[in-house]
C-alpha cells in the first residue's frame, strides 16, 4: 500500500473543504461536529462517483450482451431473404424441427447430457485420489491441468494428426491386430471421439475446482472415517459426496455449459459437423446458418432454442443436486 502517496490528513482550515465522506467520518467517530463546509461541485462529484465507476462495465454488458439477447429472440420471429424483416411467427422454429441437421444437433445434446456423469466423475475421482495424497500428487495436478489451457483449435489439430485414418493411433492398434478405425469418418463413432477429446482437454479445469472444494472439506470427518476402518468407496459415498454437494453441482453445471458452448473449435477443426452431419451441435448449426447459409433469422431461432436448453439444464441440475444434497 503506497502510504507515502496518501495526502496529509491535516489540511489547512482556510481551504474550507475536505473530501472525507461524512458517513466514513461518523463511522470512525472523528470529525464529528467539526465537519467542514464542502464545495458543492466536489460533493456532487463524490455522490456520482460510484455510478461513474460502474457505468462503463454495465453499459458494455447491457448493450453488447443483454440487449442482443432480446434483439435475437425478436429476430427469430422474422423471415430471411425475400421475407427479410417481415414477421413470420413461428415459421423458423417449425423449419428447425423439420431440419434433420438440427434434430441431430438436439440428439447430440441429449448424448452430452447422458455423458455428463462421466465427465464429472472422472475429475471428481482423480481429485479424490490427489486429495488423499497419492504419491506424486503435485505432479499429477499440474500435468492434468495442462490441456485445459490449450485452445480447442490446438487440441483439435493435434488429435487430427493422431486420429487420421493412416495416423499413429491406428498404426498402434494395427500392431496389436485391431483393424483401423475411421475415428473421424464413421458417423457412429465421430461424435463419441469429439466428446472424448473434449473431456480429455477440459477435465483438468474441473479437477482444479474439485480440489478447491476439497480444501473446504472438514478433514476431521475424513480422519474419523479412516479410524473407523471405512474403505475408499465408503469414504467417497458417505463423506466426500455429501460434503462436496455444492462443488459437484457447480462442476456439473459448468461442465454441461462447457459442452454446449465451447466445443465449436473442436467441431470446426476435427469434423466440420460431418461425417453426414453426425457431429452437429446447436452452436455449430447457428454458425453455419448465420455465416455460410446466410439465414440469420433461422440462426436466431436456433440460438433461442440453445438459450432455453441452457436455462433448463442449469435449473434442473441445480434442483436435482440440491435434493440429493438435502437427503444425506
Amino acid at each position: 500500500m503506497p502510504i507515502g502517496n496518501v495526502q496529509p490528513s491535516v489540511r489547512p482550515v482556510s481551504s474550507g473543504r475536505t473530501d472525507a465522506d461524512p458517513v466514513a467520518a461518523e463511522a470512525t467517530g472523528r470529525h464529528r461536529g467539526t465537519r467542514p463546509r464542502r464545495s458543492r461541485g466536489g460533493a456532487r462529484a463524490e455522490r456520482f462517483a460510484p455510478y461513474v465507476l460502474v457505468a462503463p462495465a454495465i453499459l458494455i454488458i447491457v448493450v453488447l450482451r443483454l440487449y442482443p439477447l432480446l434483439l435475437g429472440v425478436n429476430f427469430s420471429f422474422t423471415g430471411d431473404g425475400e421475407r427479410n424483416g417481415t414477421v413470420v411467427g413461428i415459421d423458423n422454429y417449425l423449419e428447425l424441427l423439420d431440419d434433420s441437421l438440427f434434430r441431430t444437433a438436439l440428439g447430440n445434446v441429449g448424448l452430452l447430457v447422458l455423458l455428463l456423469p462421466v465427465a464429472v466423475a472422472i475429475p471428481g475421482l482423480l481429485a479424490t485420489f490427489i486429495y488423499l495424497r497419492v504419491p506424486g500428487h503435485r505432479f499429477y495436478r499440474s500435468v492434468y491441468f495442462f490441456p485445459a489451457v490449450l485452445s480447442p483449435v490446438i487440441v483439435g489439430a493435434i488429435f487430427n494428426l493422431l486420429l487420421a485414418f493412416d495416423g499413429p493411433v491406428n498404426a498402434v492398434l494395427g500392431a496389436v491386430g485391431i483393424g483401423p478405425v475411421d475415428w473421424l469418418g464413421d458417423p457412429d463413432v465421430a461424435m463419441f471421439v469429439v466428446v472424448g477429446v473434449h473431456i480429455w482437454a477440459t477435465f483438468g479445469m474441473a479437477l482444479v475446482v474439485f480440489l478447491a472444494g476439497f480444501a473446504t472439506l472438514d478433514s476431521a470427518l475424513l480422519d474419523a472415517a479412516r479410524v473407523d476402518g471405512a474403505s475408499l468407496l465408503q469414504v467417497i459415498r458417505h463423506v466426500i459426496i455429501p460434503g462436496l454437494s455444492r462443488t459437484i453441482a457447480f462442476v456439473a453445471v459448468t461442465t454441461m455449459v462447457g459442452m454446449l458452448t465451447s466445443m465449436f473449435g473442436l467441431l470446426y477443426v476435427m469434423t466440420s459437423g460431418g461425417p453426414e452431419g453426425s457431429t452437429y451441435l446447436p452452436e455449430y448449426y447457428i454458425w453455419i446458418q448465420q455465416g455460410q447459409m446466410n439465414r440469420p433469422a433461422l440462426a436466431s431461432a436456433a440460438s433461442t432454442v440453445l438459450f432455453v436448453i441452457m436455462l433448463v439444464v442449469g435449473l434442473l441440475q441445480v434442483k436435482l443436486l440440491r435434493r440429493a444434497g438435502g437427503e444425506d
Binding site: N5, V6, Q7, S9, R11, T18, A24, A27, T28, A45, A49, P50, L53, V54, P56, A57, I61, L64, R65, L66, P68, L71, G72, F75, L126, V134, G136, F139, Y140, S142, V143, F145, F146, V149, L150, S151, P152, I154, L161, G167, P168, V208, L211, A212, G213, F250, T254, V257, L260, F264, G265, Y268, E283, W287, Q290, P296, S303, T304, F307, M310
Partner: protein
C-alpha cells in the same frame, strides 16, 4: 497402514498412465515439427534425429503466422487491459461503496454470465456491422470485453469484499476522493486478483476461435487460432509444417502455463468457491 500405503501406490499406476496420455499428444507434435517430411512418412514415432527449425520458420514466414500472431497479440493485450480496468472499477464500487441501485447493477452484470456468445452471435454481428466495427481491432476487443466482463466484475467484486472497510475509510479521512481511493488503494491492493483474472482472460481471448471467426472475416485481420484452422487445408500433406504451425500457436500458452500455473489455478478455484 501398510495396506493403505500399498493401495495408494497401486492408484499411482493408472494415474501415471493418464498423465502420459495427457502429455503425449503434445510431445508427439513437438517431435513431428522437428522432422523432415520424409522422416515423418517413414516413421511417425521415432525421435527426430536433429532439432530442425526450418518447419517452424516456414510456418512463421510463408503462411502468415507472423501476421496472425501480431493480430492476436494486439487484440488480446487491449482486451485484457480494458477488462482489468473496467472490472476493477466496477468491482470496487459494487463491493465497497454504498449507493442506490448497487445490487440491481450487480445483478445486471451477473446476468451477462448467462448469455453465451452463441446465443447472441447473429444480433451482435449485425450491431458490429451497423457500427462499422466488424473486421476491426476495436470491434473484436469490444466483443471480447463484453464476453468476459461479467466474470471479471464478479471476481473483482468478491475479491474487494475481503478488504476491510476501515482501509477505505482511513484513506477517505486522509483526504482522498473516491477516485483517489481507487487509484491509490484499490488498484495496488487488488494486484493478486488482477494478476489471476488477467491471466485467465488472456488465455480465454488468446484461445478463442468462434468470436474471432465471426468478427474478423478478412485474412488480413485473422487471429492466430483462426490461422491454425486455415493451416489444415494448406498443409494437409505436409504434416511437419502443419505441426509447426500448431506449435507456434501453443508456445505462448505453454510458457505462460509453466510460469504462472499457480495463478491460473487460483483464478479458476476463486471463480468456483465464490459462486
Amino acid at each position: 497402514m501398510t495396506r493403505v500405503r500399498l493401495s495408494r501406490w497401486l492408484l499411482a499406476i493408472p494415474m501415471t498412465l493418464l498423465a502420459l496420455a495427457t502429455i503425449y499428444p503434445l510431445l508427439f507434435t513437438v517431435n513431428v515439427a522437428m522432422k523432415t517430411r520424409r522422416d515423418y512418412i517413414l516413421d511417425r514415432f521415432a525421435l527426430t534425429d536433429a532439432l530442425r527449425w526450418d518447419n517452424i520458420s516456414t510456418a512463421w514466414n510463408s503462411v502468415g503466422m507472423d501476421r496472425y500472431f501480431l493480430n492476436s497479440l494486439i487484440v488480446v493485450t487491449s482486451s485484457v487491459v480494458l477488462l482489468l480496468l473496467l472490472g476493477s472499477m466496477a468491482g470496487f464500487a459494487l463491493s465497497q461503496l454504498r449507493f442506490r441501485g448497487s445490487s440491481a447493477l450487480f445483478l445486471g452484470c451477473l446476468a451477462g454470465l448467462f448469455v453465451p456468445f452463441q446465443v447472441i452471435m447473429v444480433p451482435l454481428a449485425r450491431i458490429m456491422a451497423d457500427t462499422a466495427l466488424i473486421d476491426t481491432y476495436p470491434g473484436l476487443v469490444l466483443v471480447f470485453v463484453a464476453q468476459f466482463l461479467p466474470f471479471t466484475v464478479f471476481l473483482m467484486t468478491s475479491y474487494y469484499k475481503t478488504i476491510p472497510r476501515e482501509v477505505i475509510d482511513a484513506a477517505r479521512i486522509d483526504g482522498n476522493s473516491v477516485y483517489g481511493v481507487y487509484r491509490r488503494i484499490m488498484l495496488p491492493l487488488g494486484t493478486p486478483a488482477l494478476l489471476s483474472v488477467g491471466i485467465l482472460n488472456a488465455l480465454f481471448c488468446w484461445n478463442d476461435v468462434l468470436m474471432s471467426l465471426v468478427m474478423m472475416p478478412s485474412a488480413e485481420h485473422r487471429t492466430l487460432m483462426v490461422g491454425v484452422t486455415s493451416l489444415r487445408g494448406q498443409y494437409s500433406d505436409d504434416i511437419p509444417t502443419f505441426a509447426s504451425g500448431v506449435l507456434i500457436a501453443a508456445i505462448p500458452v505453454l510458457v505462460v502455463y509453466l510460469f504462472l500455473q499457480r495463478q491460473i489455478a487460483d483464478g479458476v478455484a476463486a471463480g468456483s468457491t465464490k459462486g
